[in-house]
């Protein structure tokens, strides 16, 4: 590359073995996401959205095809290379938040910078201000509402300033009011230049996107 694409999938397939049968979770998918683009991925449950996300997020390797993330071809990267890519290039937001229950909000947001061996004084606080949680810094996750937890997770995904944000059904566990807040947060982030790929059923999110990718039975339509 670099033709301005931060994520590039070329003829990517992912098969899982389930007992004796092979599940074609993703088949022959080709997709490019440009820098600064806001893309939503929609499809029925079991259609392969999460699998696609995991491959883009260097959590899993494809069975076939080429994947290029922020200029790195992942088939050429070893385990350490993929770890490095996850540290520097990708911010994750999951449906289940995955906050560490024993660390407070500020510490949870700082955690990825610990692994990236970066000293980012004050950045965690800034991000929490940005998501409107400046008065929750020292709360434990258990003391927060679902919407607040997801906002912490979003702040955390941004701590290492990754070029790509991947969100897998970020509003799946939230009521509509909180979902709206997350939705507008993503829109704001995108306006500020972030590249975002979000898997969602939320029509509100889909409306705010630059582009919608539809996936069915592992195939991009």
């Amino acid at each position: 590359m670099n033709n301005g694409h931060v994520v590039q999938l070329e003829n990517v397939s992912k098969n899982y073995r389930r007992g004796s049968e092979t599940v074609h979770a993703v088949s022959d998918a080709t997709l490019a996401v440009a820098r600064g683009e806001y893309v939503s991925v929609v499809g029925h449950s079991g259609s392969g959205k999460t699998t696609l996300m995991n491959i883009m997020g260097c959590l899993d390797r494809p069975t076939e095809g080429r994947v290029t993330i922020n200029g790195h071809e992942i088939q050429n990267e070893g385990e350490a290379g993929l770890t490095r890519l996850r540290q520097t290039s990708i911010g994750f937001v999951f449906q289940q938040f995955f906050l560490i229950p024993t660390l407070n909000v500020l510490e949870n947001v700082s955690l990825p910078s610990l692994f990236a061996k970066r000293k980012l004084n004050g950045r965690a606080r800034e991000l929490l201000e940005m998501v409107g949680l400046e008065n929750r810094l020292h709360h434990l996750p258990g003391q927060l509402s679902g919407g607040e937890m997801q906002r912490v997770a979003i702040a955390r995904s941004l701590i290492n300033s990754p070029p790509i944000i991947l969100a897998d059904e970020p509003t799946g566990n939230l009521d509509s009011r909180n979902a709206d807040m997350i939705m507008s947060l993503f829109q704001q982030l995108n306006k500020d230049g972030a590249t975002i790929v979000v898997v969602t059923h939320n029509p509100g999110i889909v409306k705010g996107c630059d582009r919608m990718v539809h996936i069915e039975d592992g195939r991009i339509q």
């Binding site: 999460t50 996850r86 994750f92 999951f94 995955f98 229950p101 955690l111 910078s113 692994f115 955390r156």
Partner: protein, 391 residues
């Protein structure tokens, strides 16, 4: 934000479990430090008794292994072996010797078996040999029926100078001529008699248990020992007091082996406990660990994180245990005194010190850290995809 902080916060998640894990290591550390204090304490106590307090550098005894000689000299009892008294004159001419003390030692156990008294027949040389031969009152024997009492015996018998002491076993009566000052050694519990009196009491006129020699200059020990050995009939033994205490310490070796086996068992239990607990702690938060990998934690980060958790427990547990061991050592020393058959020294048997505490602490901490390796390795192997398991 630091690895240590994350590790410590994880331990707070289940404080009871963390504490129990630390406690199991504490037990090991305590056991180790108790055993080490007993081990070094016993050797020092025996050496003190037999080398420092007796003031004797060499013993001349009759054939029989040095260990047997050691127990006879140290404990009393009436050995079937004896040294002819006329051998003493050979040493009196030797310029290297400061003192020559022939003695007859025997122990008498009362008929009901509740008490064993040690009698030692001595010549005036005893006051030259023993470094702390000091009278609290009275003085040297005034007649063949005189007796000099060790400080403890005087206290138990409640006797004063000039008073009579009846010994049932021999149906004999003695007059107290002197009472020794306490020296916290075997002498405190000994009855000293004139040599000839002691010999005739047991029907061994002209026979000795051994001859004790004190050198003018201890650095000539080996030369003198060899010289005497060469001039002696083949069935005589020339034993250094150090060899004697080593002989006694050999008796102790089986007790010692048992103690170290105990330490081993304690360690084994805590090792399995720690590995099991830490493994559980890792496996029950697989998803969280997988998540850490998603946000960029590498293999080594997780190794480090999990080892740090265990290390924190190990450091705390070992420190508590080592200190506990220091406190418990004197108690266990007294316990050992009750069961020790080989030789009961007069000084403290358990001698805890800072070095021992430090050793116990270091060993247990290292063991704890070693135990963390497998669970940490398992955590490092968790793949980020596990974050999606059982969704």
């Amino acid at each position: 934000m630091s690895f240590l902080k994350v590790a410590l916060s994880n331990l707070r998640r289940n404080p009871v479990r963390s504490m129990l894990t630390g406690l199991s290591l504490a037990v090991s550390a305590a056991t180790l430090s108790v055993v080490l204090s007993l081990d070094s304490g016993y050797s020092s106590a025996v050496t003190e008794d037999l080398v420092n307090k007796t003031g004797v550098h060499l013993y001349i005894t009759k054939e029989g292994c040095p260990i047997e000689a050691a127990s006879v000299i140290a404990q009393g009892g009436l050995s079937p072996l004896y040294v002819e008294e006329d051998i003493v004159s050979r040493f009196e001419a030797m310029p290297e010797l400061a003192a020559v003390m022939p003695f007859k030692l025997f122990a008498v156990t009362t008929d009901d078996g509740t008490r064993t008294d040690i009698f030692m027949g001595v010549t005036e040389a005893v006051s030259e040999v023993k470094p702390d031969w000091q009278y609290a009152s009275g003085g040297w024997f005034t007649s063949p029926e005189s007796v000099i009492l060790g400080a403890e015996m005087a206290r138990i018998e409640n006797l004063n100078i000039g008073e009579r002491m009846y010994v049932e076993h021999f149906d004999a009566e003695f007059v107290v001529s002197g009472i020794l000052q306490r020296n916290y050694g075997q002498d405190d519990g000994t009855f000293f008699l004139p040599l000839a009196t002691a010999q005739s009491l047991v029907g061994r006129e002209g026979k000795l248990s051994a001859v004790a020699l004190k050198l003018k200059d201890i650095s000539h020990m080996d030369t003198v020992q060899n010289q005497i050995r060469a001039s002696m009939p083949a069935d005589y033994f020339v034993i250094g007091s150090k060899e004697l205490s080593d002989g006694i310490l050999q008796f102790f070796s089986s007790t010692r082996a048992i103690m170290f086996v105990m330490v081993g068992v304690a360690f084994l239990i805590s090792v399995f406990g720690i590995i099991n607990t830490m493994l559980m702690a890792v496996l029950e938060r697989r998803r969280e660990i997988a998540y850490l990998k998603c946000v960029g934690a590498g293999k080594y980060d997780l190794l480090r994180l999990i080892s740090l958790e265990t290390t924190a427990i190990a450091v705390a547990g070992s420190a508590v245990g080592a200190l506990l061991g220091m406190v418990l050592s004197p108690l266990s020393g007294n316990l050992l005194r009750k069961f020790l058959v080989a030789y009961i020294p007069s000084g403290a048997i358990a001698r805890p010190d800072f070095g021992i505490a430090l050793t116990a602490f270091a060993v247990c901490t290292l063991v704890g850290i070693a135990c963390s390796l497998y669970p940490a390795f398992r955590a490092a192997k968790i793949v980020p995809m596990e974050v999606l398991r059982n969704e």
